[in-house]
Amino acid sequence: MANIKVYVPRDTTACSLGADSVAVSLQHYFSNNDIDCEVVRSGSRGLYWLEPLIEIETDSGRIAYGPIGPNIIDEFIAAKCWKINKEHWSYLGVVDEIPYLQKQQRVTFARVGVIDPLSLSDYENHFGFSGLKQALDMSGQEIVSQIKDSGLRGRGGAAFPTGIKWQTVLDTESDQKYVVCNADEGDSGTYSDRMLMESDPLCLIEGMTIAGIAVGADKGYIYLRDEYPLAFTVLEEAIVLARNSNFLGENILDSGKNFDLEIRLGAGAYICGEETSMLESLEGKRGEVRPKPPLPAIKGLFGKPTVINNVISLASVAAIIVNGASSYQNYGVNRSRGTLPFQLSGNIKYAGLVEIPFGVTLKDLLYEYGGGSRSGRPLRAVQVGGPLGAYLPESQWDTPLDYEAFTSIDGMLGHGGIVAFDDTVDMSAQARFSMEFCAIESCGKCTPCRIGSVRGVEVIDRIKAGENSVKNKELLLELCDTMVTGSLCAMGGLTPYPVRSALEHFAEDFESGS
């Protein structure tokens, strides 16, 4: 029998569910019994309710089984599932035909879960580095124009057009420029950055290198949150691989162009995901927000022009270069072009990563993909866009997933995190949590956020206690206005959105004794 490949994900979630020990068990079994099977540590497909998801390579595609935790692996082996046992309860059929995956349009996540993240040949066999090779033959302006034409907007939250940002850096003359990747992924309910870095690290490296070549930067930093140790290990190895094969470093692929990368770890502050705080932190200082202007694209890291992009923004770049701006631009609606990897979590049946073009409604995402609540009770509220995103009531779930459509309902898509709550949720507690989160995570520089968030918690407590409830609700709304208009950055400026939305759409939860 030919060598059979058995794929076991090496992804933080899968590993937390025992994927490492599953891989070891399989390995032992195969070698002890002289079976010509190879265990490959791939990334995750992002179907988290099925993790650890094991895939067996066959002529008709990869056959999936899941969830196969360490307590099941012996039975799995005994049932000869690795030889394809269609009768086994965990048999899922061809992985690409699982509807959850089949319905998606995986553009940025095309390789995620498919390849061995640390195999250069796997990567190259899946169009890896074709974007870079093409970019090396293009002028900076040509690359930037492609990105502009693709309609790609920043996936870190603010949705600023990536090409325009790059243009500014390209146009700003300087002896030194930088590319910084924001991998601080602090939003609650988000994990697409982590998945990409763990499952397809070379894609990020390629994207950053293209960015560097496009704007004339020869040095890049990945600002990675410290809570992602596996992503760190994988990225570090991937950087070495890329460097050893001259995809990074000096005179990349004999093009005469240079670009190299370094990873810097954060220290557990949410605010260091805000780009100017991140720059301060990268410079070795306390993570404190800088006023803008000057824009980081003009005066960024160490005062030099700097491209700052989210992991997903940068990971989308190579595919745009390979497939052309219009192929990316063809996805999506209105001014929201391309795809966004949404991340379902919270009280949801099928939590996982869903990369689809903009335009689908939130409701479809929640039910068609998410399958409704996990508890079986009715869903009541959904927070989209991380801890600074609004809580949306059912009446707003028909909104299409489109940046502007969400803005028009005072919501935001942000980094694509979607957290669902069923009808047992206490929305005043959620509102209080938003203020509390801000109080804990505020950098402390500006007054509306530093003191306002603390007072916000206190005022909500008073409302709940029935103390002067009408006056205190007025005060809370006025405080929200002060924070929105007065704060220096979006931390204090957006915290009121979830609070206001809870108060507006779930007013009954703010009655005393409720």
Binding site: A269, I440, C446, T447, P448, T482, L488
Partner: protein, 548 residues
Amino acid sequence: MLQYYDPNKNSQPGQVIDPRRDYGTPAISIDADETVQLVTLSIDGQEVKMPEGTSIMRAAAHLDINIPRLCATDSLQAFGSCRICLVQIEGRKGFPASCTTQVEEGMIVRTQSQETAKLRRNIMELYISDHPLDCLTCAANGDCQLQDMAGTVGLREVRYGYHGENHLDAVKDESHSYFTFDPAKCIVCSRCVRACEEVQGTFALTIDGRGFESKVSAGQNEAFMDSECVSCGACVQACPTATLMENSVIENGLPEHDVVTTCAYCGVGCAFKAEVRGDQVVGMVPFKGGKANRGHSCVKGRFAFGYSTHKDRITKPMIRNNIDEPWQQASWEEAVEFAANKIKTIQKEYGSDSVGGITSSRCTNEETYLVQKLVRAAFGNNNVDTCARVCHSPTGYGLKTTLGESAGTQTFDSVEKSNVIIVIGANPTDAHPVFASRMKRRLREGAKLIVADPRRIDLVKSPHIDSEHHLNLLPGTNFALLNALAHVIVREGLEDKEFIELRCEDDAFLHWKEFISDPKNSPEAMAQGHWSAGRAHYCSGKTLWKSR
């Protein structure tokens, strides 16, 4: 002084200032010969022309429009943290901070409206919800910007109450003999932290923690006295509240007037406002109009003014006929007449050259000038000297001979524009701390530093300062080093020929050139020790820098 740098020479709008006012943000730094784009904008219906790069806040100040502010002061870069200074700009959404937003052509700014008023009041309300309510007994009462701003924005109530989370129990730090740190009154504006960094360059302070826990910390949560603090007082001066306060003011109360004077401690010549109550000095605040110090000072001038009212200080003239007699108090008329008579008698008996005058190096230039005048006009001779010459006659002679003037050829301000700074045989952080602070600021901006000194002085490596080279030569070899440098310059034809043509006498220069080109002045020869042969010139306390 020829071709010296004077920041005020370029009298663009917004550059020439009234040193007693605070314009909120610093003027942009421009050379005398630099042209800057002027932009015209309108603020509250009044037009003003300002150089590009100026903040809206500063532009407004020139129209006498005082935008409320707490975290901004014109000795520090704009920071944008208090959010009291928010304004409206036509065509822009939101409320940009006037301290961090720069003027632009055609901008239409409104500094007052119902919305801004409400916003400012609501922000002030947040401040006061975490502030002790003891203005009447507070040491800063009457000189507190928080108090002023609460009044300016019309704060009338604090709807949050005063029992929320707060810092009122924070413990005072009284470790420092000259000032007290009372964190209960701190509004976390970071002015102290920034002053310690930007103005003084010591980096003793930081903000520790984040969010509501953010607090000013000396060193790593140490007492001020145990931290790296060098007691310059810049933080105290920058603090808008009573949080950092001079002990002299805590003990005595605020001054009722001030007198601008010059510090008598060292040759830097810092200008101060002596803050006075009656005849008692309660504070010495560095004066922004001072050309040497531009509003900064060191610990001596700032805090060590106890001598001015010390009981041992002699404030009345005293006379005695000879050294064995006790001193007798006298009136000024008596004393002057006595002295005049004695001098005249001596001159009559021993000739007019028999008397002279010496001034101390601690005298100001003005005082020294007056003494010289007295000697020349009244004594009728040239017997006048200053003790500075005793240490500095070699310096003075050398400078006079080579550069035509026995004094520095540049203003202190010029260091702001230097790209390479060479420090030879001087230790500015210790000896001339105020100048050192100004130099360090420029070094942090990227100027290169070369230190030639046997000692590893502070400047060689200190926070955010790293000298490009430290040549720790042997004591007594400064001169050899300079000659070797000059030798190479001449040998490789790197001298500034245009300058030489314009400023040097041909013969003298050729003579020098011949001398310096001698191989025995080459670095190679110097390294072999030939320098010691017969040229024992001791070169000390000389700070040289190269402008641009």
